[in-house]
Structures are given as structure tokens and as C-alpha cells.
Symmetry: C2
């Protein structure tokens, strides 16, 4: 990555429906890892092009507008550039921020893409019921920490895993899960899961893949659900690890379903208040 200086025009081209925004907060999200790889067949998001400005979710303020729905001073969140000012030719893809009294950084967190990912994956894909046994990997991550809290609010038993004692402590003291453990300190992930889930797991919110998924499969309950959000343990490997216990999908009649938050944005756009009312 390289920082490049340049000049920006704070005006939209005459007659265009573009906006120019000043970027206030930029997010760095795990899915960007995939965009840094050159894919032979196109992935679900385009690869980054060397030499072009990186893009990802951010919070911005409109400083020039040729679009009737956006006026100077509007606050927005959505995909923007890793630069001070961005010319966005299609501002319809941005979300208006209707509650500027909230800390604006929340719109790259709990009220932005990570929050919607957690919400969509937990409620729309995993379909929880009160009393369900829920396991979240990468549970202190931007998405995982929200899943854990949504699960507690739903009346579930929640265990999270993370990769450092500091993160485990955060999970226990701040994010309110029932139990948390450092997977790096476990000799046997299957035994660890059996310790926390003697009755088995109803919902696994999958962020890591690989060996953890294999151990989870052995511990799923009948008619359990695995919402597959990501598999970050695999992204830097030459070849992904093999998962061996998929027959458990049959013997326990488990549903394993991948999702992308982008498929759920339409639903979010129909809720004018977004998730603001649910923030405690």
C-alpha cells in the first residue's frame, strides 16, 4: 500500500448526478483481504486494481452535489475511497445518516456494515429461538461481538472464541457472553466445545473455517444451523484446509448457509430508522 498526494476538485462535473464527499471515518474490514488477491474467475466483489485508490465502507459528508437527493452537508455512509475527498458518480448506493446525534463512527460499526452483517446472518440465516445454544467464532471481531449481543438479547446461551486472552477478557467483561475461550490455548477444539456445550450447539456463527468448523460439526445438535459469514483462518493459505466432518450435516440434519450482507441491504433500506432504536 502506498500513500499518494494529489489535488482534488471539490465540485461535480457539470450536469452529472455525482457527489463529492469528505471522508470522516474509514473502516478496514476482513473481506478486503479477498480483494487483495488476484482471482482467475471473478469473486463476489471485484479485486482491487494495483495503482487505484482502495475502497471500503466509510462515513462521509457531502461537500458538492449534482444529485437531487443529496445536498451539501448531508452525512452518509457506504462505500467510499481511502482518500480525503471522494467523487462518487453513483450516490444512490450510499445510506443517509438520519441520526447525526449518534457517534458517527458507529456507522462503520454497529450501525454500519458489520452490524447489518451480524443482524442479517443471525436473524435471517441462523433463525434463532429463545434458549438456543449459540457459538460464535472470532467473537470479539466487529461482526462477532454484535452477534453475541444479539444472541443474548434473544435469550440464547452464548459462547465465543477468540485468539488472545485480552479478547477473551473483553468478551467476558464487556460483550456479555456466557463463556469465552482462547482457541489458541486449546489442545483439542472438540473437547473444548464439549465442555461448553454438553448438550451441543444449535447455532454456529462461522467466521473462521478450518479446524474450528470441523470441531463444531461434531458438536452440532439435530436441526442445527451454521450461518457462514467468513472463514478468515483460510484466506492466507495457499490451499484451504480440508474439512472432514461434513457427514454430520446428514446425521444431524444441519443447515449450513453462506450469506453476504449486500443481499440484505434492500431490507435495511426499507427501515427509515435503521438500527438506531435498538442500540442500548
Amino acid at each position: 500500500m502506498e500513500v499518494v498526494s494529489g489535488t482534488a476538485s471539490l465540485a461535480v462535473p457539470p450536469g452529472s448526478a455525482a457527489v463529492v464527499v469528505k471522508n470522516l471515518y474509514l473502516s478496514c474490514d476482513p473481506y478486503m483481504r479477498g480483494r487483495m488477491t488476484e482471482h482467475e474467475t471473478p469473486s463476489y466483489v471485484p479485486d482491487f486494481v494495483p495503482g487505484e485508490v482502495l475502497v471500503n465502507h466509510g462515513v462521509s459528508k457531502v461537500v458538492a452535489s449534482g444529485h437531487p437527493d443529496f445536498k451539501v452537508g448531508d452525512l452518509v455512509w457506504g462505500i467510499t475511497g481511502w482518500e480525503e475527498y471522494t467523487l462518487n458518480p453513483k450516490p444512490e448506493s450510499l445510506f443517509k445518516i438520519n441520526h447525526p446525534e449518534m457517534p458517527l463512527s458507529y456507522y462503520i460499526g454497529v450501525l454500519g456494515m458489520p452490524g447489518l452483517t451480524a443482524y442479517a446472518g443471525f436473524f435471517n440465516v441462523a433463525k434463532p429461538k429463545k434458549g438456543d445454544y449459540v457459538f460464535v467464532s472470532a467473537a470479539s471481531g466487529a461482526v462477532g461481538q454484535i452477534v453475541g449481543q444479539l444472541a443474548k438479547l434473544t435469550g440464547c446461551y452464548v459462547v465465543g472464541s477468540a485468539g488472545s486472552d485480552e479478547k477473551v477478557n473483553l468478551l467476558k467483561t464487556k460483550f456479555g457472553v456466557d463463556y469465552a475461550f482462547n482457541y489458541k490455548k486449546e489442545q483439542d477444539l472438540n473437547a473444548a466445545l464439549k465442555r461448553y456445550f454438553p448438550e451441543g450447539i444449535d447455532i454456529y456463527f462461522e467466521n473462521v473455517g478450518g479446524a474450528m468448523l470441523d470441531a463444531v460439526l461434531l458438536n452440532m445438535r439435530v436441526h442445527g444451523r451454521i450461518a457462514v459469514c467468513g472463514m478468515i483462518s483460510q484466506y492466507n493459505l495457499e490451499q484451504p484446509e480440508g474439512v472432514h466432518n461434513l457427514f454430520c450435516l446428514v446425521s444431524k440434519r444441519v443447515r449450513m448457509e453462506g450469506f453476504l450482507v449486500g443481499d440484505h441491504y434492500g431490507e435495511y433500506r426499507k427501515v427509515p430508522q435503521g438500527g438506531e432504536d435498538q442500540i442500548r
Copy 2:
């Protein structure tokens, strides 16, 4: 396996609600392979006990009955013993045969467990739409051959794989799929699937697991569905093979769901005519 001679009493114990049946047809199904393994933790069906009579689906005639719903001469199908006569203490689990004019052997095939497995897995789990691209592995097997025909009846494009040219020929000439191939003759399963599914696969009816599943994952379409019926390529291995391409579940938002026909028997019992009317 050992054949043992003995004597049988063709009467039910006084006061019991048991039946004695004469077994007319016995089925040998792939899931029995699992029951021949000693499981440390119980599987979804009990392990066979050495020295006891093997049991599986069969067609039988009632020859003695203490149960008000079953009378001598009734024809039934369901779990029975690999023996000439079976004493069944819980005949409620048997299905009555209301169409004895059909060949009775159909009740261990298209009208029995394999047919219901195909029906439940295809319609209840895979949820097909007209025009869907459907791939069936072990497509000439008891279940696979029915899935292919149900898919054709639904207006889908159907390709099946099998392990011999004889089976492939049967698929093409008798079972009416669009294309069939011998997976043992393919150097590269991914390339084979790309050849038959240039647009990708909407529904994979999974009977084999392992390398085929890995190749299918690379070729699924967005919002595709994998109905996992079995993974027969894995049952004789010390350790199941690893499946590497599960991230495709996320990038293509694929649902992969295991099922057991037993969960769907209740629904079948509600249909007095069973599937007889659908047989061509």
C-alpha cells in the same frame, strides 16, 4: 454375515399388540453401511449388534396380529428383519400398502424409502424451480435415479454422474437425464462440471461427498442449494477426505442442508394414496 436356521412361532404372545409378518421383499440400502460400524457416540440409527438379525426396509404380509389396526393378510412395508418371518412388537411404525395391484417390490423402491428420500430431499430440501440446473451424483442409484426423474418432471436440466459406463448408459437411455458421465473416467471433475454446466449448478443432490463435492462447490450458482443425502465415497475410509472449497458457500450464498427421510415420514403418512398416483 451368517445365515442361521431356527424355528418361528406364527402367533403373537397372548395379550400383546404385536404382529407376525411373512417377509416378501427385503431391501439392501447404502445407509446400512453405517450401521455396520461401531460408533463411539451413537449415530442417527443404532449400530447393528453382532449376533442379532439384520433389519432394514422390506415388504411383508401379516400372518398373525394382536393389533386392532392390522389383520391377517394385510400387506405392509417398513423396517423388518432379514428372516422369513418377523415378530414386530410395534407395528404402528409400518406403512399399510393400499395398492396391492402395484408390483409389491416397488414398495422397497420408488414407493418406499428410496422414493420418499428422493422426494423429500429434492422438493423439501432443494426446493427446485422450473429451469434450474440440477446435478445428481450416484445418479443411477436407488435414490439418484428417482431424483433425476423428479427433476425432469419439474422442468429442470439434469446431469447425473455414475461410476461405470453401464450405469451411464442406463441414465441416458432409461432414466431420461439430459447428460450423464462416468466420473471415474474424468481427469478433472471441475472441468467435467464446467463442460456440462457452463452456467453453473443451481441444485446439487449430494450422494457421494469428497472430491466430487469439492468440484461442485466451485461450480455452484449464486443462491444454489445442496441437498445432502449421503456421502458414500467416504464411508469406507479411516478418516473422511477433506473438503477445501467451502468458502464458495459464502461467495455464492449457497445453502447446504443434510436430511434424513425419517423426518419426512409423518408428512407421507398424511397422504393416504402415497406416491402411487405419480408413477408413470
